[in-house]
Amino acid sequence: MEDKTLYTLIIFSENVAGLLNQITSVFTRRQINIESLNVSASSIEGLHRYTITCFCDEATIHKMVGQIEKKIGVVRAQFFVSDDIFIQETALFKLSTQKMLEHREISKIIRIHSAKIVEVNPTYAIVTKGGMTEEILSLFHTLMQWDCVLQYVRSGAIAITKNKRELLDEYLAERKERYEA
């Protein structure tokens, strides 16, 4: 894994069938594993926003972003290192209510980790936790020690860039200007 960095790609694309497949194929062709992937509607109408994280070297990420951006329907693809972005994952835990009642420490752990109980009933409680992978894993491992976890799921990462504004609007406006010129 030496000289490999965790990169986060933020991609905007038209909402058309088959694009996800084409984007992931850029990774598989180069035998790069996708660490996490999230796709959902973006703030711009009709455009989807992808957040993809992967480990690779700098030369490779440059090439992959170029090849992704080239796909018809992809509006923009950019990559970031952790310092340039604010990145988060969400985890859901289903915990045994009985165990929580038996061991008061469990609630304390939840609080210490800034997790939130969103639902409780006699059999289980649902806890959500947002944060970086390590924070979520730390909560998970701690809870596991109390043998109270019934289900656990962690989402792919989503990320927001740290520069001032969302630049896609501007980028599209520039492109349109060039097109009309």
Binding site: E14, G18, G66, V75
Partner: protein, 566 residues
């Protein structure tokens, strides 16, 4: 005002006419029958060439596109018809050839049910096409077709697949022509970065030993004249890639020959000596660079390209000039100073002479022994006054055609570069005769490659396509045999190949035929072939175990070329 509704199949016909299509290559079948039915009424405007295999249709469309600069169109049925075009689509992708493949598909309501002749061709072709799209309703046809042609021909051209469901062919809709507007998801030509033109001119002005690499992008971008003006003004020697061979006349004093594995010794040696490498519309394929890690390390590098993803893909460069090379190259030319690099230019001569003596003389001007491929190709070049379109298949015949053909006109070499698709030649030559009916089309093909798509002789017979087929028969899969000789201890594993009696085959297809076995017969036979009106098959029995030289062997530095095999 109410417009009349017409069938989707007819909307397709009108859309094709609106795109300027006049010729299509195809083969009918169940899922495309409504379109073929509509075609019946449009045969005065749309000339459909019935091929003998869909692979033939797609290669013909490629050949058509390569020589004419227009989009080649191919019309096939679903399932096996569509999958038979896959090789050609991948070929067009690697060689940036603008084609549109329209394939029938089962009705939208049946998609996903493994219906008869259903194949998910969009998913099959997505990784090997510029764009693949399924048309599922008649209303969507005009938009999809205009977008397909726009994508195929603009920017870096490439193949587009339209998967046309049967219901969309038979449903009716109004024909409302659509123009392609601004596309958020596609920018054909990237903007040229401010300052890059000036920086390129500065680097060229400062160079003492510049070398220009001319790729097919120069042909695709119609920048032949602009590139010529640049190299003449700055006095810079140039080498051409296989696909860029006719972008600069072969006999231009600054043309130092083909680059790469079987290219000229001088251009490859000088790649490792130049102080500035100027790549225009080429992609540093491994057949050009040889060993990547040692390639032109001493040189600064400028890369002109329309495709940003090509920059730094294989070879890291110091400066990228993005954009349409017709514009960027002429902008740079305006800023470069007139120069004279005579000493640098003259330094190529030593290597030219060496190659002439050790490689060219024995291959092209042998005094005795069996006929050689190189001499056949050279004689055809001479007798066609260097004006013919040269189509090649793949193998030794291809490399020697590239080495010994001479070009005076642009868009004159049609060959499968990136894919190296055997069987490309014959159908591509058919397409070329429709793309440029005013020009002579010569095909050089091996015994292996001819037999891969030999069924297209049927198309030639029916259409009387004036393809001058030169079959260079060495009774071997020669190129592979050469590698076995060099790298596998002469163990000729399945490379000897028995041929049919080509004379009888030609006769069966009613195509005039001559067999040449002796050097003395060659000139007359070529003259006869070139003066014949229609198609012709000239078979030349060439030396069986000949080798293409020089050769930069895999893994070697590009200037480390094998000149002789002892």
């Amino acid at each position: 005002m109410t417009r009349t509704k017409i069938s989707g199949a007819e909307i397709l016909m009108r859309s094709l006419v609106a795109e300027g299509v006049k010729t299509l290559f195809g083969y009918p079948g169940g899922a495309i029958m409504p379109v073929f039915d509509a075609l019946y009424d449009y045969s005065d405007r749309l000339h459909h060439i019935l091929v003998r295999h869909e692979q033939g249709a797609v290669h013909a469309a490629e050949g058509f596109a390569r020589v004419s600069g227009e989009v080649g169109v191919c019309l096939v049925t679903s399932g096996p018809g569509a999958t038979n075009t896959v090789t050609g689509i991948a070929d067009a992708m690697l060689d940036s050839t603008p084609i549109v493949v329209i394939a029938g598909q089962v009705g939208a309501q049946m998609l996903g049910s493994d219906a008869f002749q259903e194949c998910d061709i969009v998913n099959v072709t997505q990784p090997i096409s510029k764009w693949a799209y399924q048309i599922r309703s008649a209303e969507d046809i005009t938009r999809a077709v205009s977008l397909a042609f726009h994508i195929a021909r603009s920017g870096r051209p490439g193949p587009v697949v339209l998967d046309f469901t049967r219901n969309a062919q038979v449903e009716t809709a109004e024909y409302v022509p659509k123009k392609v507007g601004f596309q958020r998801g596609y920018e054909a030509v990237p903007p040229t970065k401010p300052g890059s033109i000036e920086a390129a001119a500065e680097m060229i002005n400062a160079a003492k030993k510049p070398l220009v690499l001319i790729g097919q992008g120069v042909e695709l971008g119609e920048a032949q004249k602009e590139v010529r003006q640049l190299i003449e003004k700055a006095d810079m020697p140039a080498g051409c890639t296989l696909l860029g061979l006719s972008a600069l006349p072969t006999n231009h004093p600054l043309n130092m020959g083909m680059l790469g594995m079987h290219g000229s010794l001088a251009s490859n040696v000088k790649t490792q000596e130049c102080d500035l490498l100027i790549a225009i519309g080429m992609r540093f394929d491994d057949r050009i660079t040889g060993k990547i890690s040692t390639y032109a390390r001493q040189a600064k590098k400028i890369h002109f390209d329309i495709d940003p993803s090509e920059i730094n893909k294989n070879i890291a460069v110091d400066l990228a000039v993005l954009g349409d090379c017709k514009k960027t190259v002429s902008a740079v030319t305006a800023l470069v100073k007139e120069n004279n690099h005579q000493a640098w230019r003259d330094s190529f001569n030593e290597y030219k002479d060496k190659e002439q003596r050790l490689v060219i003389e024995p291959e092209v001007f042998p005094k005795e022994g069996p006929v050689k491929m190189g001499e056949v190709i050279e004689r055809v070049a001479t007798q066609s006054h260097e004006k013919a379109i040269v189509v090649t298949d793949v193998g030794q015949n291809q490399m020697l055609s590239a080495r010994y053909s001479r070009f005076t006109e642009k868009r004159s070499i049609v060959t499968s570069g990136g894919m190296g698709t055997m069987g490309f030649g014959l159908p591509a030559a058919i397409g070329a005769t429709f793309g440029r009916p005013d020009r002579t089309v010569c095909l050089f093909v091996g015994d292996g490659g001819l037999q891969m798509t030999i069924e297209e002789l049927g198309t030639i017979m029916e259409q009387q396509c004036p393809v001058k087929v030169v079959l260079l028969n060495n009774n071997y899969l020669g190129n592979v045999r050469q590698w076995q000789e060099l790298f596998f201890d002469r163990r000729y594993s399945f490379t000897h190949m028995l041929s049919p009696d080509y004379g009888k085959i030609a006769e069966a297809y009613r195509i005039p035929y001559t067999l040449v076995t002796e050097r003395e017969q060659l000139d007359n036979a070529i003259a006869q072939m070139l003066s014949a009106k229609g198609p012709y098959l000239l078979e030349v029995a060439v030396m069986e175990e000949d080798n293409v030289l020089p050769m930069c062997c895999p893994g070697d530095d590009v200037d480390d070329m094998l000149l002789e095999i002892k």
